[in-house]
């Protein structure tokens, strides 16, 4: 049994130590919001936050996640910036097939936690690990700017 801190709750899971966090979430806990896309940290669909940092859960052994704060797409709605990003995503009509969007949103929230008003270059740098085969990149970019503005206003 390993104890994990997921979305603010301590959860005991029965998983071998080398099982990637992705499969613990999806197969052991049935938290299917975090997606499998490549299994090799190449596409970003599986992005979660580990101690606040955007992390590819498909290559992170669960043993390395013990004792760290894990936030998934299911938990990000509980944060103000998470909600702002989700609202901006809907307003900009970002999702098409939608499969990559959990990962995109987790990367975006992590970016906005570090940089309050990211430039296009900041966005390129933070988001280029997340593939969208529907090609919603421009909408993602504008939604991040929008979310940054919303969060900025709240803080004023």
């Amino acid at each position: 049994m390993q104890k994990l801190d997921i979305n603010g709750k301590i959860i005991a899971v029965d998983a071998v130590p080398d099982m990637p966090l992705l499969w613990v979430l999806r197969d052991v806990l049935d938290m299917t919001g975090t997606k499998f896309g490549c299994g090799a940290a190449l596409c970003g669909a599986c992005t979660v936050h580990v101690d606040g940092a955007a992390t590819r859960s498909c290559v992170l052994p669960v043993s390395a996640a013990v004792g760290r704060k894990i936030v998934t797409i299911e938990g990000v709605s509980a944060t103000r910036s998470g909600r702002a990003v989700q609202a901006a995503w809907i307003a900009a009509d970002v999702p098409q097939c939608g499969y990559c969007q959990s990962g995109q949103i987790m990367s975006a929230v992590s970016l906005l936690a570090k940089i309050k008003a990211p430039t296009d270059t900041d966005i390129d740098r933070a988001m280029s690990g997340n593939i969208c085969r529907c090609g919603a990149y421009n909408r993602i970019r504008s939604a991040i700017h929008q979310a940054a503005a919303t969060i900025g206003k709240v803080h004023e």
Partner: protein, 732 residues
Amino acid sequence: MSESLASRRDFLRSAAGAGGGLMLALALPQANRLSAAAPIVDAASSAGAPPGGAPVNAFVKISRDDRVTLIMPKSEMGQGVYTGLSQLLAEELGCDLAAVRVETAPVAPAYNHPVFPMQFTGGSMSISSCWTSMRLAGASARMMLVRAAADRWQIAADACWVEHGAVHGPGRRRATFGVLADAAGRLSPPDPATVTLKPRDQFTVIGQSIKRIEAAEKVNGSGIFGLDVRLPGMLRAVLVRPPALGSLPGRIDDTTARAVPGVVDVKVLKAGVAVVARNTHAARQGRDALKIDWQAAPEAVLDTERLRAEYRRLSLTEAALVARNDGDAAAMLRGGGAKSLEAFYEVPYLSHAPMEPMNCVADRRPDRCDVWAGTQMQSLDRAAAAEVAGLAPEQVFIHTTLLGGGFGRRANPVSDFVREAVELSNAIKAPVQVVWTREDDMHGGWYRPLWLNRLRAALGTDGRPVAWHHTVVGQSIMAGTPMQGMIKDGIDPASVEGAAELPYTIPNVRVDLHTTSAPVRVQWWRSVGHSNTAFAVESFIDECAFAASVDPLDYRRSLLGDAQKRRRAVLETLAEKAAWGRTLPAGRACGMAIHESFGSVVGEVAEVSMEGGLPRIHRVVAVIDCGFAVNPRMIEAQLESAINYGLSAALYGEITFAEGKPQQANFDTYPVIRMSEAPVVEAHIVPSTESPSGVGEPGLPPIAPAVCNAIFALTQTRARRLPLIRGGRFTA
């Protein structure tokens, strides 16, 4: 869930009794003509059985709490069909879009395409094929609700009107749909001949930029894709698939695999060897531990470089399959022009690489089989599952989930991903989810064909082409599929679409075809044959323009006759919106292309520079004529999507084979464009009152030639082979 067949009245009664929800079953013209009293499928159940008789459309359910449910015959893979069809229904029914819920349809003839007798989503036809039927469904339901209200109030139906999900009458009478649902459900549907659809100038929902109705579940992780299906006791499986084309498993040593904690079984299937486990990780660990002696098949010698050489040789020989023959192109090419041109254009095998790797859940029970899949091809999948399970099709229930991208891959002609899951569930007598890894997806899959085009033209003294000869060489997509009836006189239309309909005014035109055989399984890939032919035709016409020393816009203008009104309008709008001919920053150039596919015309101008020796696409202006625009913002999103998807292919996409083995495996060896490479896309829609035509695919074909034409304008290097970037270097 009920799977019984019932007469329409029985059905309505039982639906009313079962859950307090009322079903408004609607018989549409075609159904009435065939059999007015046809039994109806239980569309209220997500696993309804087919009537096996005359098709009856049943698209609408109205519950007592005023909820309107649209029984959705199409799969949502990002193209926005849930939203678009809801708009069609809501417009005629007279309810707010927010009141509409979507429930995916079971497999039944009622949900077949009106022309192709199958339930599928593809060919950019969802809106056009439901344009009339879905509005009729809404209008018929509205008339029944009005009739019910009129009866209740003892007044004439034409004194009533419908607004915001309620019927209104004189004296502030008002009854919501939910209140009327019981009574309306007892009425017979109106004679379709008496149903009048709204004229377009009264549309308030159709034609609006409506936001995607399933957006919320796609930003909070709650949307259910195929991989997200969870059933009690469901096992997971991954397959070791043949490492090379056609190879078969010989001796298998599964001792170590079975010892992996969590692994419960190893089964040999037709598609490979399955490792079944309690979770995906264990299944993958078990797979890594399997020892299999693969026996190579004769086709394991396939080598893409040799195939290219063979295609090239073939293209120099006379092609017997003639798709178009105007005048005598051959004679004119032998010496009728002032100038002659010849070029070879090549495109590679491509993987669809949807974000969600292929997968399927099957649960084979003694008397039935349930299948959960993000699929574009429900009818064929059900037939395939029934065949594998040894059941009647009526005992198989396909549950369609959200699709994490389709692009054609999830409309598999042999239902490969469904068959193996059913075969496995059959063998282990348990519900099982087969998970494809990304590598499985790229290795064990199906591909867009590799094609070679030989183009020849003779230009007159005025620079206009007097002869055009286009020879296509490649595999047939339709052969051996349920669509092979589309092959006429040996010509697969998918091989020559976009080439045979050359729109330019040229007196002598020949388009012919060498259909090849190769051991690679080929499949439709977003825009199908157009993804090849537009590249060849729109690049070569650009070559002709430059040979004639005429601006590419003027050259196209001069070759589009009066019959090409739509293209001419798109071209003029494109020239204006892109400000064609304007002075560009140093180091940048523009290229254009225009192409018709799936009933729509799209023109694109790409603005390109070379950075560090590699093409960079800064901006794409796109103009579409897709008939009446049902949801302009969704159309813009589809243009952006098709352009980026096409750009990934143009810049990077290529599957090669060596000794029958695919050489690419994941997004490192099969790159796709990322955020930093995506151009700004400016999409424009030509206003039109024609019926809607395709949107999901037509934006793709022009992007590769537009980019290559821009590269030529910038560098005088003509790129005739895709992709443009191999091993990190620009390769023309």
